[in-house]
């Protein structure tokens, strides 16, 4: 069975390469569906395969950049990427990340960084999960009463409507997202999410995707595509800095990207057959799994933490694949029936 192991030229370890393909595939499916990089899934996976931790994060970062590129191409064809909004937000994200990193350095100096960062992370994950499920419950209630909010159907939380009333120039129109608001709204929102990302040491898709929906008012599908565009750019920069530090194993990146190429198609096309709230609720469940896993890790239950993360990844991945294959089969059947009638 030696052929199932591949020699990594930089780190010098032999890695079970089908495992790398599987990680790439799963993260491609989940990332393409939710619009995030998925570092929280890849890093523990690489570690379990035997990758030295020093290389796991950097390798993960380069893989996320390439994978987001594949998903962005597909989302862009669907019209799910608002490039104008993405570029405006990029400015805020970068400033925010720098501020977050400065706060972390200050916490490092006073010796509090580890526990504070972890518990703030857990707090924010709990907040996001609450927001998603509260929004869903509200939307279900409104739908039962027959209330709708516009062209996209019923919405639960509409905080963005209040924020759109802020009238500070320059006002900007974002055509794909279909919103007009003060340019300062996306800049400030992305600055805050960037600050949290910098503070928590994560890519930020986990925070930016719900912020795009609830605070900026993007439809769910546009939030997913636009967020992936941002992840792609920040991932490429991350790849550069980690490569400078010698923390990237490019052979592993290429193997994972091959799996991600197929996974990203499935995840991205599945968004076509899913309703916005289906994506939001599954995202909430993924966030919950991530939160439970971090809490378990905090109390040194490393094995159960890995089981929860990997179990959640497998379950969500299978669910997304089911949506995609059922939807595609239905579409092809309808096309065939239409052609038969003609």
């Amino acid at each position: 069975m030696e052929w199932l192991y591949m020699h990594m030229p930089i780190s010098g370890v032999n890695i079970f390469w089908p495992g790398l393909v599987l990680i790439g595939f799963s993260v491609g499916v989940i990332g393409g569906f939710f619009g995030m990089g998925g570092a929280w899934m890849v890093t523990p996976g690489l570690n379990i395969l035997g990758f030295p931790m020093a290389f796991a994060i950097g390798t993960d970062m380069a893989h996320i950049a390439g994978k987001s590129m594949i998903s962005t191409v597909r989302h862009s064809k669907f019209g799910n990427v608002d490039y104008k909004l993405g570029i405006v937000m990029l400015a805020g994200t970068m400033v925010g990340i720098e501020i977050g990193a400065q706060i972390v350095m200050w916490l490092e100096r006073i010796g509090l960084v580890g526990s504070v960062v972890r518990w703030v992370y857990v707090g924010f994950l709990a907040l996001i999960a609450w927001m998603v499920f509260y929004d869903y419950a509200k939307a279900v209630g409104k739908k039962k009463k027959g209330l709708t909010d516009g062209e996209h159907g019923t919405e639960g939380v509409t905080w963005y409507k209040t924020l759109h009333k802020i009238n500070i120039p320059p006002m900007m129109h974002f055509p794909h997202a279909g919103i007009t608001c003060s340019a300062w709204l996306p800049i400030m929102v992305s600055m805050v999410t960037g600050m949290l990302a910098g503070f928590l040491g994560i890519g930020g898709g986990l925070l930016r995707m719900p912020a795009l929906i609830y605070l900026i008012g993007c439809p769910t599908h546009i939030s997913v595509g636009t967020d992936l565009f941002e992840v792609m750019i920040s991932g490429l920069y991350g790849a550069f800095t980690f490569a400078m530090k010698g923390r990237i194993e490019m052979v592993a990146v290429f193997v994972m990207l091959t799996g991600a190429a197929i996974g990203a198609q499935i995840g991205t096309i599945a968004t076509k057959y899913a309703k916005g709230y289906g994506i939001r609720v599954a995202f909430g469940l993924a966030v919950l799994a991530c939160m439970v896993s971090i809490i378990l890790k905090q109390f040194k239950f490393n094995a159960p933490a890995a089981v929860i993360i990997l179990g959640a990844i497998a379950a969500i991945c299978l669910w997304i694949m089911k949506i995609m294959f059922q939807g595609a089969a239905q579409e092809l059947r309808e096309k065939k029936a239409g052609a038969g009638q003609a």
Partner: protein, 99 residues
């Protein structure tokens, strides 16, 4: 033109100040650890070249990492798009329904 410049001003002002910060967001500060790739065991000339660049020139190694990731990512993106367009699925339009 002036209107467009005004719209882009926040972006232009923000860019130079922030790039180094992304390193942290990319996953935290790595420990000061020096890893040397063992080129003696490599027989493949391409792998040998990249392992050698890794040992000798970190900047070139970083440039290669970004360029190769971008090229392979876009290649796979467009190649998969070509393959998927042959499945008969409509991959250019979708209906946004929230609930």
């Amino acid at each position: 033109m002036r209107k467009r410049m005004w719209k882009l001003l926040p972006l232009i002002l923000a860019l130079p100040a922030v790039l180094p910060g992304l390193a942290w967001a990319a996953g935290g500060k790595a420990a000061d650890l020096v890893v040397v790739a063992d080129t003696r065991v490599l027989t493949n000339s391409v792998l040998y070249y990249f392992a050698d660049v890794y040992n000798m020139n970190p900047t070139l190694n970083a440039v290669w990492a970004v360029v190769l990731t971008a090229i392979y990512g876009s290649f796979l993106g467009f190649f998969m798009d070509f393959l998927m367009s042959r499945t008969g699925l409509d991959l250019k339009s979708r209906k946004i329904v929230e609930h």
